[in-house]
Symmetry: C2
Subunit: 319 residues, 2 copies
Amino acid sequence: MFDKYAFVKDDMKKIDDFLLSNIKTSSPTIKKAVEDLVLSGGKRVRPLLVIAIARLGEYNEDKIIPIAASIEIMHMATLVHDDIIDDSKMRRGRESVQSKYGKETAVFTGDFLFSQAFNVIADIISKENLKLIARGVKAICEGEIEQFDNRYNLDISVLRYLKRIYRKTALLFAISCESGATQAGLSKELTRAMRRFGLNVGMAFQIADDILDYEGVEKIVGKPLGSDVLNGIYTLPLIYALSTSHKKAIEDILLKNKLSKKDVNRIVKEVKLSGGIDFAKDLALKYVKKAIKFLDIIPDCEQKDLMIDIANDALKRNY
Amino acid sequence: MFDKYAFVKDDMKKIDDFLLSNIKTSSPTIKKAVEDLVLSGGKRVRPLLVIAIARLGEYNEDKIIPIAASIEIMHMATLVHDDIIDDSKMRRGRESVQSKYGKETAVFTGDFLFSQAFNVIADIISKENLKLIARGVKAICEGEIEQFDNRYNLDISVLRYLKRIYRKTALLFAISCESGATQAGLSKELTRAMRRFGLNVGMAFQIADDILDYEGVEKIVGKPLGSDVLNGIYTLPLIYALSTSHKKAIEDILLKNKLSKKDVNRIVKEVKLSGGIDFAKDLALKYVKKAIKFLDIIPDCEQKDLMIDIANDALKRNY
């Protein structure tokens, strides 16, 4: 995907090698589950950001690859646990851990990945960076639980939604950028700009992800359209729609006891008609533009081009 | 329970205060769940071991309390996740997180606790100790998954069982002792003895816990007798029984498609008759004696008495 950048292909291979060789475990089940996760790919956006930004400063591969890989491990752990909650059958085009090995294995594979990630980075990165990454994971948990607590809540505001996705997604993007910057010894000003770049890309990323529930390609997304709605998770397109004249039509359906497939399709249609998807796309685009603006501070270079590509790619998500 | 030791009551209060004041979260749900966990008590055996051993050397409260508390946090996190898998309604005499708040909240409350624990200890303890604790958590996950993978496996050997409980339980006991020892600057020889003490206590602890499935008081244990058997988890008393003339009677029941309450009671009875419980109790006692032997290296003192008490208490578990 981002292979046109000279360093990307090499570095991504190093990350994969690091992931595969550092998941040392006596458990054949964990080993298989983690190999599945690594080999199923994903775009590795977070580690790519760590590396691209670290390459703006004093690049020390022996530290950067483990940091980048560990952030990916933590991210994978949250995905594995997320799939338990959503009861997702698929992840990145493959069967999810919880579907293939059961919820029990998924719970402890996620925990294994968390502890392994901390184990790996403990003597490589600074304590500040370690705390930073731990805080990122903590925020993801808070965001996920806030989302769960607010299922079926029709009064959810755009602001609350934005706070949620900040925790669930954007903060770990910001932390990826920040830890790459601090590790490479970038100036405070640059580090702050990189962090903000990550934050805004992360926001766009999650909004784009939420739009997929309304217009994704089921086969690629891996779950039926309207799954979020069905599970009471109301995201930006729907939240916007509830502020329009479509409110009553949508509420009438949502207040039913049990939604049929037809009900869900009806809601998706109402949301589209309300302009909710366009509103969400516009907001995602604004975040991307804001993100790219923070790159003004760095001179034109390959890394900058890659970061701009990653930012723009957030809008094209279909996975 | 161990309140007769002058320092215990004070230190335990400090641990509880530390737990409550360091679980800073924007999520009211997490806050409530964690408060439930802390206030429900438990004997805090692991933190007690950290503290007792650290008090043999250069005792630095500002480091020891956070280490001890963090190990308890990690332990709590594994309990919360464990209850998801066992579908347990009760934990330490209170409703479990998964029963009270749902599996979704339980998954992310556990993850929150893991990340929070690493966050708290990152700038307090040495990298060696941090890696040690991460390794302890990793081993627990491996032990749990191995146990799950071997459900309904009638060929399980005593050795495999012992390896499993080493990972699931004993290693974190050993690590609790070791991190107390290294933090307090004890000699290598002493540190090794303390680690071995912990390992053996942990083995006894888990064997005693497994015996409860056969002769615990349901109301205190919080789940029906024979729950492990019903879930295909075969522990020492049963594994022993399968090596006796009771093998056929037990296998005939276990090979049935679905076990009734009566079937489970029948197995519990056969295990008792086979001497499986006595065998397990004897082995637990051996581990306790072996553990206490490792304390010969330290002079008589209050801490030593407490450690002997903790070791002996493993055999009296009824919770």
